[in-house]
Subunit: 459 residues, 2 copies
């Protein structure tokens, strides 16, 4: 964790922003897999982590704004806990590490809140089933009342704080990106026809773990790159295909990297693979160059879409005016998702707080249309934002068949040319950036991205 | 999955055993980490898997015994699902793969059950919070009524089926054990002072993944071997210590291996490490040799405990009659847990169905005493049982201090000698066995276990 003053300062600013009442930040509990005591790897709630640094299950944090008091609730280890899990710090020691002056046992929380009935309690939206149980029990609310009672002022205060990354946070993220770079370089250097996707993915995970943390999200490593969130399988890597590898490491403190490269299984791209790759690369570079404070990320997304359409027109797959095609969502036959997302303690940062609050604003609402509904970030960029830029082109047979049979956007799409691309797959190129006072900076060391540099690693 | 006849036969036997009513087997849903759509790796419910072979989220299986009808409930993929997750089989295709003749959409289940109000519904104990939500909604029960309404006849029928592993299951388990062997051999061959525990653990996980599945449980790889369930950390491996490595792979079908070795960081054990190792090894081998049909595993556990006490007496740490010491739980200062557990689709097989039903019997109740309360298996062994044998000696400073200050079991323990062992750590040796008609068979190829063979790998 960072120095405790970091957390003291964050909580102080949070109190000022929220103004009054009591803030209840719930730490996560263990999640059971196939029986109660067989747990998934513990994942702390990211807001709890941001304001306490405490990466341990079964803790609750009260920030009483009205009385300027922070209290950590948790249970000390029993001798049974010590036998099975080793010596753990006491709750009072944990509190002290986070600069929290008071601590109490977990079962005192319910009584504490009952005594504070006149103060409004601010809490965040639940995203695990046990969050409903906890909040229902503590605040005597039905699950529906929990949903309705979520504190928008708390959400907005946390979003405004967590959106702007400090130098220390950026340096942690950069560490994660550089480990993620090692994973990408390993995939590009060592993947060979005849291996399974899983075999390569396992090697990449071992690099993430050796980096001191683990994966920042389940690895996407596939020769079926057209499927946006497919995960690695035991399919054998075959000549003639490309491998799309979207992966990242997170540091022990849970700051992540998130990178994508697409490379040929053979030593070089085929002509058609190279043509499509160059289109995606051009869109990715154009978008990266357009990043600057004050720019709407929505516009950067639309710019990337236009660049993709320009390229698809040269390839003969699209036609007509590029801007018009994008305005009609014609490009979403090939680019069905968003250009990027905020990145921080969550790989899609703060997604649990609501994409409207994180990625949009009071005046900019998230679209519900196919394509734009998957753009998680649209708002005006500010220095300290960390985000991904990850355009792609995806040839999805079921979607092409559906649109063709509907003659959808037929004035922009040359449906007779699509047949050649039925088994093409997909290409994505992704890097991570921090917005600076006058532009943006690539996070981590640059690694192979051009056709020439990628092919050099395949030699 | 196995051939569909396997699942048809299993369901047929289950119907005969339960006798009447409707069986509701709930497949698991995705589990969220730090926001709703960031999922842990999907883990199917093992009983659902056992009776259907379907390793996909959001399915429910109805087995109507009275009308001899099986129905799979689930939803077909939408075009959005296909864009993000690729083409998936329809629910009707999934049903057919499992030899289930009928399929319906998921939202039809609630109405289906309302029409069957005269038939009792058999369901299993919940172990994830969403199980309570599902069962409450479907059967109009409060969470307390869900707990009270669990079907003991269904539990007993499933335990009797799943306890006896078929040849095909044993062969899958053996495949997993052999991959687990590769993990153990890698740790023993490559671990070096100066590495972090995590670095080695990552390499072992990559072997599990390359084997076609993944880890069967989070790796325990530590120089703090006295802590029973501690996981790897970023601690640096130091000379003079031992590494305790408890890990296993599972196959793509979720059949697992579970092995432990303890080895010196240096090229050879110190004299005292070797002495303690030999005690554990002798207990492990004696227990393994005692495995046979009809034998109570409780007695095998007690035999191993006596062997440990015999050794600790030679070492000067214990005194008095070994049987008496064990009867007084004096050995639990050094061996706080059970000798082993059933192993199958769950690493602690069927633990979610209740340890009393799985590991004990109507006439043999599980003890609540320290030590024996952690023995998950006590009952009489039968051919086809697969289980672990994993005695150990663990020197836990906090526990030694507590007992010493209480003078607990002072007639069996030489408290004045404990000081030398304060920082010793712990040693465990674990193998997996199947009970045969006249004894037991080690699963997987034998790998280094004696001091000499382990040291040979450290050269």
């Amino acid at each position: 964790m960072f120095n405790k003053n970091t957390y003291i300062t964050r909580r102080k600013i949070l109190k000022q922003k929220v103004g009054s009442g009591i803030i209840l930040l719930a730490g996560n509990v263990q999640s059971s897999m196939n029986y109660k005591d067989n747990w998934y790897a513990f994942r702390q709630d990211s807001s709890f982590l941001y304001f306490s640094g405490l990466d341990i299950p079964d803790l609750m944090l009260i920030i009483d704004i009205d009385n300027d008091v922070d209290i950590l609730f948790g249970n000390d280890a029993t001798i049974d806990d010590i036998v099975w899990q080793g010596v753990l710090p006491t709750v009072s020691e944990l509190a002290s590490n986070a600069g929290i002056l008071q601590s109490k046992s977990l079962n005192a929380l319910s009584g504490y809140l009952k005594n504070k009935k006149n103060q409004p309690v601010h809490f965040l939206p639940p995203y695990r089933p046990e969050h409903y149980d906890q909040l229902s029990d503590l605040l005597q609310l039905s699950p529906r009342e929990v949903d309705a009672g979520v504190s928008v002022s708390l959400i907005k205060a946390i979003v405004s704080l967590r959106s702007i990354k400090s130098e220390a946070e950026i340096s942690e993220i950069e560490k994660a990106v550089n480990t993620s770079n090692q994973m990408q370089l390993a995939a590009m250097s060592f993947a060979r026809a005849g291996q399974t996707e899983a075999e390569i993915a396992g090697q990449l995970q071992s690099i993430a773990i050796a980096g001191g943390g683990n994966l920042s999200f389940p690895i996407i490593l596939t020769t079926r790159g057209e499927t946006l969130h497919i995960h690695y399988t035991n399919n054998i890597i075959e000549r003639g295909k490309m491998v799309l590898c979207d992966c990242g490491a997170e540091t022990a403190m849970h700051y992540p990297g998130d990178l994508t490269r697409t490379f040929p299984v053979d030593k070089s791209f085929t002509q058609i693979q190279r043509d499509v790759y160059e289109i995606v690369l051009n869109a990715q570079q154009s978008a990266a160059e357009a990043l600057e404070p004050g720019e709407l990320f929505l516009n950067v997304h639309l710019l990337a879409c236009e660049k993709l359409v320009d390229g698809l027109k040269e390839l003969g797959l699209m036609k007509g005016d590029s801007k018009e095609a994008v305005a009609n969502n014609a490009h979403t036959l090939f680019f069905q998702c968003g250009l990027g997302h905020m990145m921080g303690l969550d790989i899609h940062d703060m997604e649990n707080l609501g994409e409207q609050y994180v990625g949009y604003s009071d005046t900019l609402k998230k679209s519900k249309e196919f394509g734009l509904k998957s753009l998680r970030l649209g708002r005006s960029l500010e220095p300290g934002f960390v985000l991904t830029v990850e355009p792609g082109l995806y040839f999805i047979p079921a979607l092409m068949d559906l649109w063709k049979s509907d003659k959808r956007n037929a004035s922009f799409i040359n449906y007779d040319k699509l047949g050649h691309f039925r088994n093409f797959g997909g290409i994505r190129i992704e890097e991570d950036f921090v917005i600076t006072v006058n532009g943006a900076r690539l996070l981590g060391d640059p690694i192979a991205k051009t056709v020439k540099d990628v092919e050099a690693l395949r030699m």
